[in-house]
Symmetry: C2
Subunit: 144 residues, 2 copies
DNA sequence: ATATTAAAAGACCTTTTGGTCTTTTAATAT
DNA sequence: ATATTAAAAGACCAAAAGGTCTTTTAATAT
């Protein structure tokens, strides 16, 4: 569904958010370990997220990653689009240059609703909502 | 949804099937042009499909690509799995090592049904059924 | 001040994906 | 036989994705 970078980003962000709820500010080593992602790559990805303004960080002793709680919830779609580009799930399933109701490819009728529900999923779910699900013990987050 | 190679393969196969219905046996130049795909790459992909037994070809004058009409219909899933590997849409949306109803990631509940409908789509649709749709004028196949 | 801690920056590398092109092989028509 | 046609084979190349590692910068504690 998502590429590796997006996966690590999403897992990392949700992990940080859960820890923040618990009053903890994790660093890259902890995050990478807990979400079962490559250490340095995870670090690089988190830095990018900070530079893009989705996440905050502090250096030095006691440093780590955290969220600005004043900002509004962060929909998955925002992250996915920032990482994979705006047309991540907007294209035609058959690869036609444009997807068009009036000029449908052979898959359009069946694929268009699926694509719409993916869009809904990433629009409605936010890092915060997933973190709450997790914290409530409804979901697991990591490797098995 | 699919990677480029799979897209070209699907478009190419459906195109060949449509032409076969019309009593024509197209070659790579025609196919690549009509499905708006890179010429040599398309050739390579079609050759692979022939070697895998999904498609037939003949060399020399009057040669081209066609289907063995005695074979059963070819589900998209078979092609996708042959090209992208078996776990194309079986994995966890969050990237966990295994997707499990009893140990769900934060996206599982919403993503699992979507994944199931993608599976249904590629299982039920075949090259032949899409070709018929196209031939009946219900769909466009190519570029615009 | 300085030692320690931890993120930021960035160079570098590997694998996969996507793509191009030339040469060879096989079929057909003359 | 041979010229022509068209797929098969395979070498080669470029970009993107995925990943590693070292050096630098900034914060904190002593
Ligand atoms: S035209 Fe192909 S999915 Fe809409
Ligand atoms: S556990 Fe993640 S989709 Fe099922």
């Amino acid at each position: 569904m998502f590429n590796k970078e997006t996966e690590y980003a999403l897992r990392g962000l949700v992990y940080v958010r859960v820890q923040q709820i618990l009053g903890h500010k994790p660093g890259i080593i902890e995050i990478a370990t807990e979400i079962d992602a490559p250490l340095f790559y995870t670090g690089k990805i988190l830095q990018r997220l900070v530079k893009m303004g989705f996440l905050m960080s502090s250096k030095g002793k006691g440093g780590g990653f955290y969220f600005d709680l004043l900002k509004p919830d962060l929909p998955l779609k925002t992250i996915v689009e920032a990482i994979e580009g705006g047309k991540a799930y907007s294209g035609c399933g058959f690869g036609l240059k444009q997807c068009n109701d009036d000029n449908p490819c052979p898959l359009h009728e069946q694929y268009a609703p699926i694509r719409a529900s993916i869009d809904k999923l990433v629009t409605l779910n936010t890092v915060q909502s997933l973190a709450l699900n997790y914290k409530n013990g409804e979901d697991i987050l990591l490797k098995l």
